[in-house]
Amino acid sequence: MLAKASEAGTAEAILLGPAPDDAVQTLAKHGASKIYHSADAVYRDYLTLPAAETVAGLIQKHNPAVMLFASSYAGRDLVANLSARLDCGAITDVGDFQLKDGSVEASIPALGASYQNTSTLVNKGTKLLVVRPKSFEPKINEQPLSVEEIPAASSEGLRKVHMKERVVVKREGPSLEGAKVVISGGRGLKGEEQFAILKELADVLGGAVGASRAAVDAGWVPYAMQIGQTGKTVKPDIYFAVGISGAVQHLSGMKTSKYIITINKDPDAPIFQYSDFGVVGDLFKVVPQLIEELKKRKGA
């Protein structure tokens, strides 16, 4: 986002809450000409409201043309509060944007992948945009370090949602975002245990296992594995969609993968429209055969 912002104009960043020591340097290295900073623990210990108070104050003081937020939990929560508080518009799921004479034109995939729309915001003042992950390539654009320490939001009324505990669910293997190969399973997997065969395929190919929202909603795999509009966006060299029909929700999280390989028993599944190679068949026959074949060829 800093790469895009510093290309479109002068980019400044806000860093709130305890962060690694090199965080401000990292921001400056990627193009932030100024960093507003408070390391106060209130931003870590209380959700949304303290950060919204601080960011709203900065917006009112500096009146930026555009304010960018990541499509993360915190990003969406913050934008929701700010747009209501400042009575200004917000566009979510932005893939790219242009600034023209103080107005903004954002392109957004609508209905998943099936439409590409452009939208603008007509409110006066700052425009809020929530940007899809991986929309812009990071660039090194080193700026002199300029940090303004800002006072932390201190009002008691902002300490309403208390973070009691953060539980990290451990996962093995390469991260979904970084993997060159991603194997995702959907409703067609029929249950939690069956994800083991995807894991086996992922191990053979050095990949990571993902899932569609249907599989996550069914409780078979944790949300951290969800790929799609409301989950992770991945861009691997090879994406396997196994037992996934290809709902718009899912497509928008993986359609820019280099190669898409599909296994599905329904020849009419929309996912085949996006596949480079597809097999219509029973995944419980095709996947084990593929694993066996890969092991055989590797051994040869």
Binding site: L47, Y73, R76, D77, V79, A80, N81, S83, A84, R85, C88, G89, A90, T92, D93, E105, A110, L111, A113, Q116, N117, S119, L121, V122, K160, V161, M163, K164, E165, R166, V167, V169, L205, V216, D217, G219, Y223, A224, Q229, T230, D237, Q249, K255, Y259, I261, I263, F272, Q273, F277, G278, V279, G281, K285, V286, Q289, L290, I291, E293, L294, R297
Partner: protein
């Protein structure tokens, strides 16, 4: 502005609540079987003439409300905004067990953006007694996911999104919420707004008795004017967000597909060899 009555009525000394009144904001959307198109003129989704249903994400919020009120007493009220097509979804929520419903039905609200929608819903919620507002984290047709946070601000209650488990004890609410790396446990006080992730529960199917009973339940209908909102605050006129163009992206060329005749796995391996992965 009318205060949330049941909240004011609760006894703060003991922290005990007599009843837990829950308002659920839910959307009625084109059924999941419908391939949604955009209208080139209005640049909105084509919602007319297609079958509608209660958004499954909203059904989960209704279910959560019912489970909480079954445990703590109180009632669930569904609030929705939409055309007359929404009636089918409202009836579904009532048949599941919601006690009553509110329908914001007004041509003037068509084309509302997230902020306009949140203003209308918040104004309708303020007319109800509530301790807890439940929504889906996002609707299953537009996924913007920011309306719940906007509503919370207009109501002046704390927002918690992405809930996967909710428990209420006195006027304390504890929520397990999804995080990028696992989950967080957060705590707040009532009244509050909680947006549920759709995996929070398995919504019940309405039973015959519920379906019959739903016909007798009250559906209040409000217009924007009833809610004290003027035409320049809501609908297309009040929208901050304007859609400029809609278009079809360059379609990815569909590649080869084969039907498995016992060689499907091998054929994928061949393809991987062809693109030089193995």
């Amino acid at each position: 502005m009318k205060a949330p009555l049941s909240y004011l009525n609760r006894s703060s000394d003991s922290g005990e609540i007599e009843t837990l009144n829950v308002v659920v904001c839910g959307k009625v959307i084109p059924a999941s079987t419908v391939i949604i198109e955009l209208d080139a003129n209005t640049k909105r989704m084509v919602r007319k003439g297609v079958p509608h249903e209660l958004d499954p994400a909203a059904a989960s919020a209704v279910e959560e409300g019912l489970r909480l009120t079954e445990k703590h007493g109180g009632a669930v009220t569904l609030i929705t905004m939409g055309t007359s097509d929404a009636t089918i979804g409202i009836r579904n929520a009532l048949a599941m067990g919601a006690a009553s419903a509110v329908h914001i039905l007004d041509d003037a609200v068509a084309g509302s953006d997230t902020l306009g929608t949140a203003k209308l819903l918040a104004a309708a919620i303020k007319k109800q007694e509530f301790d807890l507002v439940l929504c889906a984290t996002e609707s299953s047709d537009s996924y913007s996911g920011i309306v719940p946070g906007q509503i919370a601000h207009f109501l002046g209650v704390p927002p918690v999104t992405f809930a996967k488990e909710i428990s209420v004890d006195g006027n304390k609410i504890t929520i397990k919420r999804q995080s990028e790396t696992g989950y967080d446990v957060v705590e707040s006080t009532l009244p509050a707004l909680v947006a549920c992730s759709s995996g929070i529960n398995e919504p019940r199917y309405p039973q015959l008795k519920g379906i019959m009973g739903a016909k007798k339940k009250e559906i209040k209908v409000y217009t924007a004017a009833d809610l004290g909102l003027s035409p320049d605050q809501v609908g297309e006129k009040g929208a901050r967000e304007k859609v400029l163009t809609i278009g079809r992206p360059a379609k990815r060329q569909a590649g080869k597909a084969v039907t498995d005749e016992g060689e499907g796995g091998k054929q994928i391996a061949d393809f991987l060899a062809e693109i030089k992965v193995i």
